[in-house]
């Protein structure tokens, strides 16, 4: 008989003998230990290959960047807290908490393309309790970028408050801890539910429509709120009068908003400290209690979602609801089957060659792939945010930042990072078709580039329209320079993207926005390339602006664009060789499970 015990395997009887207990019971603890060992072994094994070592290097660099960024923001938050507390400006404290909450919730949207998380779905085949699953979900979420940055900000505020008002240390600690817990739970709940909704075609369409309505509504609000924005530069007295007028007009609104925000989590966190300062600890405790209820509510909303996952729901296979009734006849179903194969009804593009086939296939797959839809759509929201910031900074004086348009375009382009730099990521095992069929790989990449260029053009048009609607029509030279910069940056990104897609691909789970396997090396290096492209763009724009020769920027970008297209063509000529040389690695990566 095999001596399983000495081979390091526990006989099943012993495993069954571990008392199940609760989320901290013996079985759960054994499972946590096993999972920690698994992660450690996976980490060690990843270092066996050059790619693994590169990944570790990239991960280290990226976490250093996040840490430095977090320390910077945290220090700023600390000084702000110190300033408010020592200056007794407690009424402004909610602003600090609102900014922090906003960053905490928005950073994951901004960085969705660059994050890698462990998918705990693999645990569901084991006897893991729901409580343990939830706990692990939260624990693994703690290494999320937004959590790290948010927590560093909380630490900064805590230190600032501790220096300014050491007597409030306990209250500050409590308020910040509950506030952090609320944000950690909320961001996960929001993402988990968005994933669920976007997984179904019907809800995806409804959310898409709501998104568009929201965008349009903001445009309608825009002229109403800023109708005097384009009246030109006025003198100081006029500005002051305008400010007074605005204050008088918006004062009732602001009062209502202030009253409402006091009952929302950032306001409650601030209120718990404000009330304590006013020697009203019970009111402070009450605010903290309501904040805790919000945290519990966020946790509950998250738990409801995770419970469905725990019961076996798989977002990757959430189907569009079939309208067929159970009693429908086989003949009727057969006729329906023919409908889709009808040439007139089932096809999107006119061409019949491989390029049209790939574009059509990618377009269909894209419409059903959450991470890419999200990555492409999310930045449009950020374009609105940025344009609003520019509007607030310059709108009152009628002097909007002249380079606002290119800045908004930059963020719109960032949404395409995953699309450009991992263009084969959603193929899965289907990538084999490209190597089995008589279509050269160059044609495959050409088709993908064409589609991505068109999609980018479309998103850029929407972003330009949004920006112009928000900020007004900028100087014609800036518009021309921005368009020319896009013509330069697009082939640059496609060139680098083709190389990254072939040399550093990673499989994308089409059903998830978060909890992707990802590749830090791809994410970091692609960001680096984009920063270089941006740096070139920024240098030309800023020079043109300072020298007051903005009209020069467009021709400069066009010359650069010609060079970029030439390099793109050269790389396209090498695509076949690279793809065939790396085909087994590409196929292995795309077929990787888990």
């Amino acid at each position: 008989m095999a001596d399983l015990g000495s081979a390091g395997l526990s006989p099943l009887g012993e495993a069954a003998g571990i008392h199940a207990g609760g989320v901290l019971g013996p079985l759960a603890r054994a499972q946590y230990g096993a999972l920690a060992r698994l992660r450690w072994r996976m980490f060690q094994n990843s270092l066996r290959s050059t790619k693994g070592a590169l990944e570790l290097g990239a991960r280290t660099v990226s976490y250093v960047i996040y840490a430095v960024g977090g320390l910077g923001i945290g220090t700023g938050a600390g000084f702000a807290a110190y300033g408010l507390a020592s200056g007794n400006q407690w009424r402004f404290l909610p602003i600090l908490f609102w900014v922090l909450a906003f960053l905490w919730q928005v950073i994951p949207i901004m960085l969705a393309s660059f994050q890698e998380q462990f998918d705990l779905g693999i645990l569901l085949r084991f006897p893991v309790r729901f409580g343990s699953y939830l706990l692990l979900y939260l624990v693994f979420g703690l290494v999320d970028i937004s959590t790290i940055l948010g927590c560093l900000c909380c630490v900064g505020i805590w230190i600032g408050m501790a220096f300014a008002r050491p007597d409030l240390l306990l209250w500050t600690t409590l308020a910040l801890a509950v506030f952090a817990a609320f944000n950690i739970l909320l961001v996960r709940a929001v993402f988990a539910w968005i994933e669920r909704w976007l997984a179904q075609r019907r809800t995806r369409e409804i959310l898409g429509a709501l998104f568009m309505v929201a965008l349009l509504s903001m445009q309608l609000l825009n002229p109403a709120l800023y109708q005097k924005r384009h009246t030109g530069r006025g003198n100081h007295q006029q500005d002051m009068e305008q400010m007074k007028e605005m204050k008088a007009r918006y004062s009732p609104w602001l009062k209502t908003a202030n009253a409402v925000q006091r009952w929302l989590p950032p306001g409650l966190a601030a209120q718990s400290l404000q009330q304590t300062v006013k020697q009203q600890p019970m009111a402070g405790l009450g605010a903290l209690g309501v904040l805790s209820l919000y945290a519990l509510l966020a946790g509950g909303v998250l738990a409801v979602r995770l419970k469905s996952e725990y019961r076996g729901e798989n977002l990757g296979v959430a189907p569009a609801r079939d309208k067929a009734t159970p009693g429908r006849s086989r003949a009727a179903a057969s006729v329906a089957g023919r409908d889709l194969t009808n040439p007139a009804g089932g096809q999107m593009l006119g061409g019949s060659g491989p390029i049209a086939a790939i574009i059509e296939k990618d377009l269909r797959a894209l419409m059903r792939t959450l991470p890419l839809l999200y990555a492409m759509g999310g930045p449009l929201l950020m374009v609105l945010v940025f344009s609003t910031i520019f509007l607030k900074n310059g709108g009152v004086q009628g002097n909007v930042f002249p380079l606002a348009l290119p800045v908004c375009m930059v963020y719109a382009q960032l949404g395409f990072t995953q699309v450009f730099y991992n263009s084969l990521g959603t193929e899965g095992a289907g990538i084999q078709i490209y190597f089995l069929s008589p279509t050269p790989f160059r044609t495959v990449m050409l088709a993908k580039n064409l589609l991505h260029a068109c999609l980018f053009g479309l998103v850029a048009m929407v972003a330009i329209t949004l920006t112009i609607l928000r900020l007004g029509i900028p100087d014609l030279a800036v518009v021309a320079a921005t368009a020319a910069w896009l013509l330069f940056s697009l082939p640059c990104n496609l060139t680098a993207g083709n190389l990254f897609s072939l040399k550093m691909p990673y499989r994308v789970n089409p059903g998830r926005i978060t909890r992707q396997r990802g590749s830090q090396a791809n994410a970091l290096l692609s960001l680096l390339v984009q920063l270089c492209i941006l740096a070139v763009g920024a240098a030309v724009f800023v020079l043109g602006w300072f020298l007051d020769r903005m009209w020069l920027a467009a021709p400069v970008f066009l010359i650069l664009a010609v060079g970029a297209v030439y390099v793109w063509r050269r790389v396209m000529d090498d695509v076949n060789a690279i793809a065939y040389e790396r085909r087994d690695a590409l196929i292995a990566m795309m077929m990787k499970e888990g």
């Binding site: 409908d339 889709l340 086939a357 095992a429």
Partner: protein, 266 residues
């Protein structure tokens, strides 16, 4: 002399220190239903990957339909159909969309692609599943779809890596009929499977690979006679099944493992 449909000479593939396939030389005649057998990890899938351009051999040469084959031999690829190990499906498409895509990738015109798609879906009994994404298909349905995709362009040589795995008996019978029909019309089929009964019923010739090396090659009758000749006198008269032939050639290690018993299993 007739040109072989598939010909390899000294085909070898190494992954670092591991030699997955070593010095495989074989020839498959046109119109042959060829079974390529071996235990798990023997090198079957690696061989098929090399023969279909998914993996570059470390050394050795291959020819398909008499022409040297490599990944860049695009004209030859039009003559080849493959059901690879991972089935090469695109989960976010419906079956119809997927077959349209594959047909056009193989250079079929739109009309032919549409017609064949419809015929294949009906033949594979997938026509009623047109609202489902491929990712929602059962494993057996995915296998049927992968087979449909492999034959949509009417290949002369078909490589099948475990095509019957997870397919129900009714569908398996249907697939066997289809494959036999292809053989009758002159196609060549190169099949790997662990279901030895299917090999016995369909294949005329068999090669067995073990630990990366070809250990047997010939018609089933030749292998049967070869194995029988090693048996004691009385047993030579019995008609050996494919399973007995296979175990006699590669099964020595497995028999030793069978001697152990996991007594804690209920």
């Amino acid at each position: 002399m007739e040109t072989a449909a598939i010909q390899t000479y000294g085909l070898t593939r190494r992954f670092g220190a591991l030699t997955a396939v070593e010095d495989v030389t074989l020839s498959v005649a046109p119109g042959q239903f060829f079974g390529f057998l071996g235990p798990n990890g023997a090198g079957k899938s690696t061989t098929i990957k090399m023969l279909t351009g998914l993996l570059e051999p470390t050394s050795g040469t291959m020819a398909i339909l008499g022409q040297p084959f490599s990944a860049g031999a695009l004209d030859l690829k039009r003559q080849i159909g493959v059901v690879p190990e991972g089935m090469a499906l695109l989960g976010r498409l419906t079956a119809t969309e997927y077959l349209h895509f594959v047909g056009r990738m193989y250079g079929l015109d739109r009309e032919t692609t549409n017609r064949r798609t419809q015929e294949l879906l009906e033949f594979m009994q997938l026509a009623n599943e047109n609202k489902k994404l491929v990712t929602d298909f059962s494993h057996g349905m995915q296998k049927k779809l992968a087979l449909a995709a492999a034959v949509i362009h009417g290949p002369k040589v078909l490589f099948l890596d475990e095509p019957f795995e997870g397919v129900d008996a009714v569908a398996a019978g249907m697939l066997k009929t289809m494959l036999t029909g292809m053989i009758n019309r002159g196609a060549t089929i190169f099949l790997t499977t662990h279901v030895l009964e299917i090999v016995e019923r369909l294949c005329s010739h068999v090669a067995i690979i073990s630990k990366g090396r070809l250990v047997a090659n010939g018609s089933i009758e030749e292998l049967r006679a070869g194995v029988a000749s090693t048996l004691p006198g009385a047993e030579q008269e019995q008609r050996l099944t494919m399973e007995e032939i296979f175990l006699a050639i590669v099964g020595a290690d497995g028999q030793q493992e069978q001697a152990q018993e996991l007594t804690w299993l209920t």
